[in-house]
């Protein structure tokens, strides 16, 4: 064995120690010594000089004690350190000569202990009394009269704290959503932990005890999650969100106070919130009732029964405060996520009798069948009208039956409705990211985020909405300096608003930016040849030109928009969902995109038209007008095809019977009916034999064999029991253009 290096390390340390005065045992010196001791420890481990290892750990503890100021007597500490160094030198000497050390290090260790205190105490337990105090302080502080007793110490600092604190909370909210989607991502936990930490720090200086203590509790909850001691679960996310809300209103109170207003009572139950935080922090407290957590884990095949029994036995032999789930995670038998899933299952099974989970397939089937029922009902009602004599009793019973079916339809569609909240929150995060990239300052306001919409719609409307939001941030809002010059607040505002109107969900995206420039749009449209002049064009029509492919008013191309592709994609996507877009805009004040979507894709409002022997359904959202054109409105110009002059414009005429090779009743447009249908290709006139009526139909897929037929979006059973085909106007017009 070669002890040379160890001897040298010890000699160096001894020498350094000699030249030091005890009063110099300050932090930098302690740090230097700790690093030396670490090297010595590594070497001692290598050479298996166990007594030195014992000494090193005792010495490190003494140094740490002086750093943490748990040891006050520096002179005595220096004395013990000196002894320790000499002892180690003796031990190594002895090893060098005999390969062992016969003396005992116990005496030295005892000396160390008398200085530091017994092992496993001291620093580790120190925070506990504080925690207890805190809970007590909280209970007192939250008593009614305590609410008003916020003392403002430094007004200017408090003001800064309010602004910055609220920003931080906003950041927390966004990151929480990310965390929910990706619970094991430590970056997100960190991103939530840090703002709480900062808020706590400043609150402690400003003596804002309630804010400090709540953010402290939330911070330590997240710290445990960060260290993997508890898993990120729904209840945890909920409590962090509630905590962030509570902080927000506490800071709001502070602001009221600063402004000389009486703070509005927050109505918060801070002790209850704290109790919830503590409960989640402690981990898993739901082992009562229902199935035991262990059993669920066994059922799910995550652990074996033998393993479970073994762990349970061990727990019995050495009882500790740890819950089973925690023990399993600690011993790496189960992952935090598995345990939390099992816990969730347990909770689902256990108590909640008011809600149940249902497979969405079943729900879809139910809604489908109810749709059929509604159609059967309208068949019955038509049959009844055709009856010669009416039975009063039967009529009464049937009208009762109708009421029930329509209620049933309402209820069943509502089953699949979910709030648009999450979509909005995703978008508000997007706004922040975009704004950051663009160097703009933007606030987001959400209105009506509880508005419900069919689950199947949510994903579909997300993409077009994202495009519009991008457009608003990128083009709508001005750069901060431009805003200041225009006398607007530096921070732009994007409002996302949702509400129900007439069987539709309306989503408005508003920015308070520069507004659409009519002139600029027109110039571009003229240049691109979309229009020949601006005569007779309404404001709406001009604005809508931004949805034309290839037309972008953006001065420069950014990485997200300005290439003139975005907005026509939006329009197509919205129309595919049978939605509509409108634009309101005022120069210098901002722009609002108003989109309307049907609440569900399962049922559409359609106009039934007849062409030859067949019935077709045209979605009403795309219909602009229906008319019987006068004879002179019809033109047939060679090379340009047939046109109809309607609504003050010449529009191409498409004969529906031609498209599906049918024999029509009328071949002359002035005898037939012409329906003006809007599309992304521009409005077209669709010629049909006659209009049968308006109806709501349940959309049915045409099945595998007929799925890819152009021009048809699906089928539906009509009131008279016949099948009607639903027309896909875009597809149909595309076909016609190729003709």
């Amino acid at each position: 064995m070669n002890y040379q290096k160890l001897v040298k390390l010890l000699n160096d340390l001894a020498q350094e120690f000699l030249v030091m005065e005890s009063s110099e045992l300050g932090i930098p010196t302690a740090g230097k010594f700790l690093n030396r001791l670490e090297e010595i420890l590594a070497e001692a481990k290598e050479l298996k000089v166990d007594p030195v290892r014992g000494c090193v750990s005792a010495l490190s503890r003494i140094l740490e004690g002086t750093i943490m100021e748990t040891i006050q007597d520096k002179a005595e500490a220096a004395n013990v350190l000196e002894n320790g160094i000499h002892l180690m030198q003796n031990i190594v000497d002895s090893y060098k000569n005999t390969g062992r050390y016969d003396g005992s290090i116990q005496e030295f260790i005892d000396m160390g202990i008398s200085l530091v205190g017994p092992v496993q105490s001291g620093a580790a337990e120190a925070p506990l009394p504080e925690e207890v105090d805190e809970t007590r302080a909280e209970t007192q502080a939250s008593e009614p009269q305590g609410e008003k007793k916020i003392e403002i110490q430094d007004e200017s600092l408090t003001r800064d704290f309010i602004t910055e604190g609220l920003e931080y909370i906003e950041e927390i909210e966004i990151n929480i959503l990310n965390l929910e989607n990706d619970p094991e991502n430590k970056d997100y936990i960190n991103a939530i932990f840090r703002p709480f930490h900062s808020i706590k720090g400043v609150a402690s200086f400003l003596n804002l005890e309630k804010i400090r203590s709540l953010s402290h509790n939330l911070e330590s909850l997240l710290d445990r999650a960060r260290n993997g001691e508890i898993s990120v679960s729904s209840p945890m996310i909920d409590v962090v969100l509630d905590g962030a809300d509570a902080l927000k209103s506490m800071i709001g109170q502070l602001r009221d106070l600063l402004e000389g207003k009486t703070p509005t009572p927050t109505g918060l139950d801070i002790p209850a919130l704290t109790a919830r935080i503590k409960k989640i922090e402690e981990g898993f407290d739901v082992e009562a009732g229902g199935k035991k957590i262990g059993e669920i884990l066994v059922d799910d095949g995550i652990i074996s029964e033998e393993k479970l029994n073994q762990v349970l036995r061990e727990k019995e032999e050495s009882p500790s405060a740890r819950k089973l789930g925690e023990t399993l995670i600690e011993e790496k038998i189960a992952k935090p996520k598995q345990v939390s899933q099992a816990l969730r299952k347990q909770m689902d099974r256990m108590a909640d009798m008011t809600t149940i989970r249902v497979d969405t397939v079943k729900l879809d089937d139910l809604i489908d069948m109810v749709g059929e029922l509604v159609i059967t009902q309208s068949m019955i009602s038509q049959d009844l009208k055709n009856q010669e004599h009416t039975d009063k009793r039967l009529t009464r019973d049937i009208s009762q039956f109708f009421r029930i079916t329509s209620a049933l339809q309402r209820i069943s569609t509502s089953l699949r409705m979910i709030p648009i909240k999450q979509t909005f929150q995703r978008m508000s995060r997007l706004v922040r990211d975009l704004a950051k990239n663009a160097g703009k300052h933007v606030s987001v306001e959400l209105v009506g985020e509880d508005t419900e919409v069919d689950r199947n719609m949510i994903d579909e409307i997300y993409n077009p909405l994202v495009h519009m939001v991008r457009n608003s941030v990128d083009h709508g809002l001005e750069m901060p300096d431009e805003r200041i010059r225009a006398g607007k607040p530096e921070r732009g505002l994007i409002t996302l608003k949702a509400y129900h109107r007439g069987g539709n969900i309306v989503i408005e995206i508003t920015d308070d930016g520069r507004g659409l420039d009519r002139r600029k749009i027109l110039d571009k449209a003229l240049k691109a040849g979309f229009v020949q002049s601006d005569e007779g064009l309404s404001e709406q029509e001009i604005y809508k030109m931004i949805f034309m492919p290839g037309l972008s008013t953006a001065g420069k191309v950014t990485d997200v928009s300005g290439r003139g592709v975005g907005m026509d994609v939006v329009r197509r996507a919205v129309e595919k969902l049978r939605g509509k877009i409108e634009i309101e805009s005022a120069v210098g004040e901002g722009t609002t995109f108003i989109t309307r979507f049907p609440l569900t894709l399962a049922i559409i409002d359609g106009m039934i038209v007849k062409a030859g022997p067949e019935h077709y359904i045209l979605p009403t959202t795309s219909i602009l007008q229906a008319l019987r054109p006068p004879r002179d409105a019809y033109n047939n110009v060679v090379g340009k095809g047939e046109t109809i002059n309607a609504m003050g414009r010449l529009m191409p005429l498409i004969r529906l019977y031609d498209m599906f090779s049918l024999e029509p009743e009328f071949k002359n447009p002035w005898e037939a009916i012409v329906v003006v249908v809007d599309s992304e290709r521009g409005a077209r006139c669709l010629m049909v034999d006659k209009i049968i009526g308006k109806t709501e139909v349940v959309v049915k897929s045409l099945g595998e064999g007929l799925k890819n037929i152009k021009g048809l979006a699906g089928g539906a059973i009509l009131g008279n029991g016949r099948v009607g085909l639903i027309i896909d106007t875009e597809g149909l017009f595309e076909m016609a253009d190729q003709h």
Binding site: I27, G31, S156, L157, F205
Partner: protein, 129 residues
């Protein structure tokens, strides 16, 4: 050099916190103060001017206080710069890690101007000896 003539760099991501520390420093006579919002910016500031004392938060995005400390100590031009670490709690593991990395002292939030002054004096005394 008059003690109060030293240039102090405050590093914290929370602007209000920087202001808090700035105010406290002013109370005890330190007037020459620069600020940085994270470790990366701090290093830039350190390269650009002569800083006599760093007062840095522990917990910051991009580059933590500990990482900043290590970066400062490993840069021959900056290695000797006194470094005072601000922590939220006296967590032994953190403090010991900072001490091992060569921190001159640490201070636990919240603190008073007097304590801050004391810590800075202690650091300066240790160096001048």
């Amino acid at each position: 050099m008059n003690e109060k003539n030293i240039k102090v760099l405050i590093v914290d991501d929370f602007a209000t916190m920087r202001k808090v520390i700035r105010n406290l420093l002013k109370q005890v006579g330190y007037e020459d103060i620069v600020e940085a919002e994270d470790g990366v910016m701090a290093l830039k500031a350190l390269k650009a001017q002569k800083i006599d004392m760093i007062v840095s938060d522990w917990n910051m995005p991009n580059m933590s206080g500990l990482e900043l400390l290590k970066a400062v100590r490993s840069d021959p031009d900056l290695a000797e710069t006194p470094f005072l670490m601000v922590t939220a709690e006296a967590l032994q593991d953190n403090v010991v890690a900072a001490v091992k990395a060569g921190v001159n002292n640490y201070i636990v939030k919240p603190f008073t101007a007097e304590v801050l002054n004391e810590k800075i004096k202690k650091i300066m005394d240790g160096i001048n000896k």
